[in-house]
């Protein structure tokens, strides 16, 4: 969706709107959608009248917190109330609206045309008076902030111009906005893969971890019942006790991978997608490591499906599956992964999206761990544990020493179907791919 038609305003300027109350109806294609206010307040101005079409993200109306602000806003926007005859002069009004928009680029708080595929876009946020003043004062010093920071700021009503950014060149990051509001900043959780393997940002992460309390589901002295997901994980873990596993590890140099990641990161590529792609490509040449034990014999799946463990904030973990990553390009794969992570947090995955993995990845690199070993999920033959990539002194073949980024990986495999030599040669080829030709992961 790129634009929406405003079918009807259910509220008139001046009307009180409650949080969750429908303010207008937007149509796109064959779907009508009620757009609701996300805050209590008053509809101060309608900038796009019913019948007009607005591109996604356009300012279509203003909501204010108190009744007293309405008059001020209406004066500023010269819209007063949109009467029938004004509706007729549709073109003029639209021009007017867009010119108003440019005057008020800094005003954050505006109800936007909904993007049907992206819910977040349609939040109508409230204009806090101080914010209006700041905006109308036309602050000429440009505020440099990340898109996420801007979004959170507009939702929480934080004035970005008053913040001190912690990012490069004082850029305001999402965490700065959160801490300004006294909110806990987010520690990267498992599997998002936004951080590079090569933990360039090891300092801030350490800082966050030391200032934050570890995850716990209960208080001291309590016994908390397992939730459904935790129970499911427990039964999987217990069944792994009947599987004769062995482990084999490898140290992989990631300087080239990190350099390649830097070049594709701006296109939305995540480290998880890169690792999944590398593992899937290597597995294609090592079908034995993609196999699993069944009572009838060694079962070879038709495709390579990579499951990646994601911890759930309320306990348990889930393994969303990237199906057949060899067939998907890196950019699409990254989008798929982001979508899977988002929906798994919301518990919206379909069973085939988390139960069809043929090989599992578990990445704790973002916490800086130097090695760990993983437990084999039932129905699969192997799981790879990925640790952080850290600068390490390496002895070279010619006797010299140098500092290289090194990441330890550790394969856990079912010895009934995968033998030491299978696992070792898989790791050797995976290392060779990551160390020598990470560019080939693009397709």
């Amino acid at each position: 969706m790129t634009e929406g038609k405003i079918v009807e305003w259910l509220k008139n300027p001046g009307d009180k709107v409650e949080r969750g109350e429908s303010v207008l109806v937007v149509e796109s294609d064959k779907a009508d959608m009620d757009v609701e206010s996300f805050q209590d307040g008053y509809l101060a101005a309608v900038l796009m009248p019913a019948g007009s079409t607005a591109p996604v993200g356009e300012t279509i109306g203003l909501i204010v917190e108190s009744q007293e602000e309405i008059a001020g806003i209406q004066e500023k926007h010269n819209t007063k109330t949109i009467s029938q005859e004004e509706k007729v002069h549709n073109d003029g009004l639209q021009n007017h609206a867009s010119s108003e928009k440019t005057n008020n680029e800094n005003v954050k708080n505006i109800s936007k045309t909904p993007n049907v595929s992206k819910v977040e876009k349609q939040k109508a946020t409230v204009q806090v008076k101080t914010e209006i003043n700041a905006a109308l004062a036309n602050n000429s010093s440009r505020v440099i902030a990340s898109p996420k920071a801007k979004k959170i700021a507009s939702q929480m009503g934080v004035d970005l111009s008053k913040l001190q950014g912690s990012g490069p060149n004082g850029r305001i990051q999402a965490d700065d906005v959160l801490s300004a509001k006294g909110q806990p900043t987010a520690i990267p959780w498992i599997g998002e893969g936004n951080s590079s393997v090569g933990l360039n940002n090891i300092q801030p992460i350490n800082k966050q971890i030391s200032s934050d309390i570890g995850n716990s589901f209960g208080s001291p002295g309590e016994t908390v019942k397992f939730n459904t997901l935790q129970k499911a994980v427990n039964s999987n873990m217990e069944s792994s006790l009947n599987v004769p596993c062995f482990r084999v590890g490898y140290s992989i140099q990631t300087d080239k991978l990190d350099a390649f990641y830097k070049t594709v990161k701006q296109n939305g590529v995540t480290m998880t997608a890169l690792l999944v792609k590398a593992v899937a490509k290597t597995l294609k040449n090592h079908p034995q490591v993609n196999s699993c034990f069944t009572t009838d014999g060694i079962s070879y799946p038709e495709t390579v499906n990579i499951a990646v463990a994601v911890a759930m904030e309320d306990g348990g973990l889930i393994t969303p599956v990237l199906k057949n990553p060899c067939q998907t390009d890196l950019f699409e794969l990254s989008r798929e992964w982001k979508d899977l992570v988002k929906r798994s947090r919301l518990k919206q995955l379909e069973p085939d999206e988390y139960s069809t993995g043929t090989f599992t990845l578990s990445n704790l690199g973002m916490f800086g761990v130097d090695r760990f070993d993983a437990i084999l999920p039932p129905g699969t033959g192997a799981i790879l544990a990925i640790a952080a990539s850290k600068p390490t002194v390496v002895g070279n073949e010619n006797g010299s020493i140098s500092v290289k980024k090194v990441m330890q990986v550790n394969l856990t495999a079912d010895h009934r179907v995968i033998y030491g030599a299978d696992g070792a040669s898989f790791l050797k080829d995976l290392a060779s791919l990551i160390e020598n030709s990470p560019e080939s992961l693009i397709a």
Partner: protein, 213 residues
């Protein structure tokens, strides 16, 4: 947690449009206010009635008798229901699926195409024109509403109905839009057969468990 249950309502008799509209709205409201966890699927037929969306252009109505016209809260232009046309309403909470109306519209098209394929009728989507088409003729129409990601209305498939009724309007606002029906391709298909297939497809595509009221 994901809710995969839906009440299935498939009356044998031909239903009054307004009454079913109210029924849909009740289930939508209940889901929104979390009075109930039940999604709702209605499969049936209506007496002749013309419906228009809130954004519809009234010029497309041509010369229809106004007492048969209902203004409803769905997207799209004017359309028409009548006996012999299978109408399906889906009150689904998209939070359980994907919060994406485009995805939902494509899913409905997919269900219709799969249903028609069961009867060996060749049909397809037409980019920019939501609905299902047999070459240049429209065989099924879609129109939905949505509030807090709970859907309203759904789609209709022409099975064995009097297509003359469509000449009273400009269907979907597309000029020279010709309509067609299943009977034009397969002489022996009954509305009951189509009903059963549609039911199965919906159950499969939305992973639903049907419960009775």
């Amino acid at each position: 947690m994901i809710n995969r249950t839906a009440i299935l309502n498939e009356p044998r008799e031909i239903s009054d449009f307004k009454e079913i509209c109210k029924l849909q709205e009740k289930y939508q409201r209940d889901l929104i206010q979390t009075n109930s966890n039940y999604q709702f699927i209605w499969i049936g037929e209506h007496m002749l009635s013309y419906t228009i969306g809130r954004g519809s252009n009234l010029d497309n109505l041509l010369d229809v008798c106004p007492e048969n016209v209902y203004l409803i809260n769905r997207g799209g232009e004017v359309t028409c229901h009548m006996p012999g046309q299978l109408v399906v309403y889906l009150i689904l909470d998209l939070v359980n699926y994907k919060k994406d109306l485009n995805w939902y519209l494509r899913k409905l098209e997919f269900i219709i195409i799969n249903t028609l394929t069961e009867f060996n009728i060749k049909c397809s989507r037409k980019t920019g024109f939501t609905g299902v088409w047999c070459e240049n003729k429209k065989i099924a129409s879609i129109g939905i509403g949505c509030k807090r990601w709970v859907t309203l209305h759904g789609f209709s498939i022409n099975v064995d109905c009097n297509l003359e009724n469509f000449t009273q309007i400009i269907p979907c606002g597309i000029k020279e839009c010709e309509m067609t029906k299943i009977r034009d391709f397969k002489k022996d298909v009954t509305i009951k057969e189509v009903k059963n297939i549609v039911k199965k497809m919906i159950q499969k595509e939305f992973n639903l468990k049907f419960v009775s009221q």
